[in-house]
Symmetry: C2
Subunit: 121 residues, 2 copies
DNA sequence: GCCTGCGTTTACGATATCCTGCACATAACC
DNA sequence: GGTTATGTGCAGGATATCGTAAACGCAGGC
């Protein structure tokens, strides 16, 4: 379990079996080879699948995509884009936010969501 | 200038010349080949230098590293780490923040900085 | 002339990333 | 015992990323 890839693989396999998919069938749905899926699920893959692929897996299995992307140690694509689109403010926001307690962070997110409701740019 | 890499290259060259470095001399300081530096400055490089390398360039030329990393279209390493370390809240924060006006965003950052003053992790 | 320094071009390479094809072993089913 | 389904091991490979070496043409000084 010390290897996050192994952990991700285990979670993936568990969930896939719960949903009743065979490895080959699920590989087909995700559009990867059974070979690679096997490697990933057993934690033997050198690299986790790309973020978008992990997202697809999560969606197909009814799991939370962001959570799974995190488990796989990858960065969501849209997050990357948000930062590259505003590469001065967003890093500043993150650097400030990392010093907050979870509660403070939660409130900050809520505040941002509230304010962004009406008029975005 | 529609190509951001070209823009970055132009800024870099301008600044380097202002500082009186020859291409070869500066390449040596940054620890890259004159070849690659030339390609980068003229916007002909297939890829921008890695984030750390850009940071080094900016530092050597007295420019703002984050700003230059942004110009080069790269992601600061510490930002990457912050997200991977809290891969559920930080993406949520960014997604909420992207809908804010610049003024709202500024206030949000200020609030986060204020609150984070006392208790870090 | 030659040598030094300047930037540039062409070709190429190392490593990382993400993933495949194919053959295999095992069991189940008819 | 042939067929079908399961997951797996081995041996790669395509593309992206981040650069390099060697050579070129051009100027200036001596």
């Amino acid at each position: 379990m010390s290897d996050p890839l192994q952990h991700f693989g285990a979670v993936l396999r568990k969930r896939r079996l719960e949903k009743g998919y065979s490895l080959r069938k699920f590989a087909e749905l995700v559009e990867i080879s059974p070979t690679y899926l096997s490697l990933v699920e057993t934690g033997k893959a050198e690299y986790a699948p790309a973020a978008e692929r992990v997202r697809k897996m999560a969606e197909l299995l009814g799991a939370d995509p962001d959570h799974w992307i995190a488990l796989a140690g990858r960065m969501p694509e849209d997050v990357k884009k948000i930062i590259l689109k505003d590469p001065e403010s967003m890093p500043a926001l993150l650097r400030a936010a990392k010093n907050l307690t979870p509660e403070q962070l939660k409130r900050l997110i809520a505040k941002a969501e509230r304010e962004g409701k009406g008029g975005g740019d």
